[in-house]
């Protein structure tokens, strides 16, 4: 009940409603423009909103998060280029529909399905967050350390990139987080005699470089490649009969999206592709075949990818582990505003969970309005050439990194991180684990050293401690399983089981 009253705060203050609306609107356009990503927008936003109060800052960031998750689908339908990775599956049937002159219908379906998917996931978030938080309050230092390791491992292993490259990125991120004075003894680490580095490297600077500037460089590289094919669209109208007809698929896809979104390291793209595949298997006789403009092919991915947004807040708020890259940046924003996302958040700032949930519900409702309007302006904005857009993004990156400490060293570091991020992306070193490593370093090291102190600096006692608590055992097993999942072992077990079942089937036939 208290959480619901906290959620209502977002609806009671007109200024907050405007901030969320502005966020949804910005996010929708950022998500729609191919090359601009939600994480890039969030990394820039954090540098401009750090001096604001927490509520307006959260309101804008939540709005942008929801808007981005939807925005990608518009470009996917109109120009066959998904504005964001989570809209890849939408292009499969959205663009064929647009080619048949049904772009308006496709956009209308995506708006309403995104909103319903998002709202279903908000309910799940409201129900799951307090339950997980209560459990997480029993965490000891050792458990925090295991949890942070597990979060890093999941982000590194579920991303799909090479395991060794992902773990390398996470370790490098943690090391960057170690730069500066050691928090307990004041010993200088990785400063190389530079006084500026003694206060450490700000993760916002790294974030703007790795997500914003690197993305702009990647787009500058492929500036001549994109070809835009324009589509004509009429007025948009919601079709509630269709909503009722596809509601079972919407519900199933939203639940699928919420479960995938709550797993650290996954995101809207994985959820949307899973849901698309699920819809394909589930729909026996679609009116139009999949890939040629099937409505089911729009319903499933759109409901699923927007459901990942509220779901990503569950591990972020309760365990301090982000569900996706955007949530990682929101964790950063919360730290800047003196909040500590994780098990203690429910004890110290319980209102934040309700406020986030309220913001997400409000953002989804506002998305309904934003999604059905401004379609002509939208078509113009999507057509802005990258050669004009990218220099603007770079200026914002520079201003954003300077604004943090009014220091040109920060700007130089941001450009350095940008070039590094460009190289990492070109060679499949994921930047997500690196950012998470930088953010989680303090929590990781502080709890490791505290747990070691409690074990009298004895490794044997520390390991024995893990097996003395049920929470530690579960976290440790989850960690081991996440590591084993990357070895050939699961593959072998599956092939052995498949071999056994086919032998059994043959024996039955005989």
């Amino acid at each position: 009940m208290e959480m619901l009253s906290n959620a209502a705060i977002m609806f009671q203050q007109p200024a907050l409603i405007l901030y969320v609306a502005a966020g949804v609107w910005i996010g929708m356009y950022v998500g729609a423009i191919p090359g601009l990503t939600g994480t890039m927008a969030a990394s820039l936003l954090i540098s401009f909103t750090y001096s604001w109060d927490i509520l307006p800052a959260l309101a804008v960031m939540i709005g942008v998060h929801v808007g981005c998750a939807y925005g990608g689908s518009r470009a996917a339908i109109l120009i066959n280029i998904p504005g964001a990775p989570c809209a890849i599956a939408t292009a499969f049937d959205g663009y064929p529909l647009a080619k048949k002159g049904m772009a308006a219908k496709a956009i209308s379906v995506t708006v309403i399905q995104s909103v319903i998917g998002g709202l279903i996931a908000c309910v799940i978030m409201l129900l799951a967050t307090p339950a997980i938080s209560t459990m997480a309050l029993k965490f000891a230092s050792r458990d925090y350390f295991l949890m942070a390791t597990l979060g890093l491992m999941l982000v590194a292993t579920l991303g799909g990139a090479s395991f060794s490259k992902s773990v390398f990125s996470a370790a490098l991120g943690l090391l960057i987080g170690c730069v500066g004075m050691d928090p307990t003894l004041g010993i200088k680490r990785f400063t190389f005699g530079n006084t500026y580095l003694m206060s450490g490297i700000g993760f916002v600077v790294a974030m703007i470089g790795l997500f914003g500037f690197a993305e702009a460089l990647m787009q500058a590289k492929d500036i001549d490649v994109t070809a835009v094919v324009k589509q004509k669209i009429d007025k948009l109208k919601p079709d509630f009969k269709e909503v009722k007809r596809y509601f079972p698929l919407t519900l199933q896809s939203s639940l699928l999206g919420a479960v995938i979104g709550a797993l650290p390291g996954t995101g809207g793209d994985i959820a949307a592709l899973f849901a698309y595949d699920f819809a394909k298997r589930r729909t026996k006789n679609p009116e139009v075949p999949f890939g040629e403009g099937a409505i089911e092919g729009l319903v499933a991915p759109e409901a699923a990818n927007n459901a990942t947004v509220p779901a990503a807040y569950i591990p972020m708020l309760t365990l301090g582990i982000p569900g996706d890259g955007y949530a990682a940046i929101i964790i950063g924003a919360m730290y800047i505003h003196g909040l500590n996302p994780g098990p203690t958040l429910m004890a110290t700032n319980p209102e934040i969970v309700g406020i986030c949930a309220g913001g997400l519900v409000l953002a989804n409702i506002l998305l309904l309005l934003a999604g059905y309007t401004g379609i002509k302006t939208f078509a113009k904005i999507v057509e802005i050439p990258k050669s004009i857009l990218m220099p603007i993004i770079m200026v914002l990156c520079i201003i954003g990194s300077f604004a943090l400490n009014r220091s040109m060293v920060d700007v130089a570091l941001m450009v350095g991180f940008g070039v590094m991020g460009y190289l990492m992306r070109r060679h499949d070193f994921p930047v997500g684990p690196m950012i998470l490593g930088i953010i989680l370093c303090e929590l990781f090291e502080w709890n490791l050293r505290r747990a070691l102190s409690l074990s009298h600096s004895n490794i044997g006692e520390f390991v024995a401690g893990i097996f003395s608590s049920p929470i530690s055992i579960i976290l440790f097993l989850a960690l081991v399983l996440s590591l084993l999942a990357k070895t050939p072992l699961p593959h072998r077990i599956r092939s052995v089981l498949a071999g056994k079942s086919s032998k059994g089937a043959r024996a039955n036939e005989q």
Partner: protein, 166 residues
């Protein structure tokens, strides 16, 4: 695209070499920190463990580089040409130019105010990236965008949100 695949291995090895250098520096620095307090719970423990993890992973990444070139790969007779093509593909002219203009912009901010420096930066960067599609209309658009964006950022961020501009 095809040439990019031909030079893939050399570019991949070059980036891995860069990370090897970073790993070696981290190992050396971690060892130095560890020497200040030689015990399990010391400021050097985590950096040392992380550096070792990085070393193991970068070896894994090195081993994971595909040993075979694509079947239709170009056979380079001159190693110098191979290296030159690899550098060109890793850092195409658009990327090098953009970084160079940005570095110039950062230096110019020491001598000029935000508004003129940003207008010139936007003009140069947009002109450079649009050089293949330059026409009268595009030139006018670029000039207008450079001025409007600079003014917009100045008013919205500098005045409205009180963000300190460079």
């Amino acid at each position: 695209m095809k040439r990019e695949r031909d030079t893939y291995r050399i570019r991949e090895y070059a980036v891995i070499l860069l990370f090897v250098v970073i790993t070696v520096i981290c190992l050396a620095e971690s060892w130095r920190i560890l020497q200040t307090q030689l015990e399990v719970n010391s400021p050097g423990t985590l950096p040392m463990v992380l550096s070792v993890v990085m070393a193991v992973c970068i070896i894994g990444a090195f081993v994971g580089v595909p040993k075979r070139l694509p079947e239709n790969a170009e056979q380079y007779e001159s190693k110098r040409r191979l290296a030159a093509d690899a550098v060109r593909e890793e850092f195409p002219i658009n990327v090098v130019g953009t970084i160079a203009v940005t570095v110039l912009y950062l230096f110019s901010l020491k001598f000029f105010l935000y508004v003129p420096a940003t207008i010139v930066y936007l003009l140069l960067n947009m002109l450079f990236l649009s050089r293949k599609q330059l026409g009268k209309k595009r030139l006018l658009t670029i000039a207008a965008v450079a001025v409007i964006v600079t003014a917009f950022v100045y008013v919205v961020f500098g005045i409205l949100f009180q963000v300190t501009l460079p």
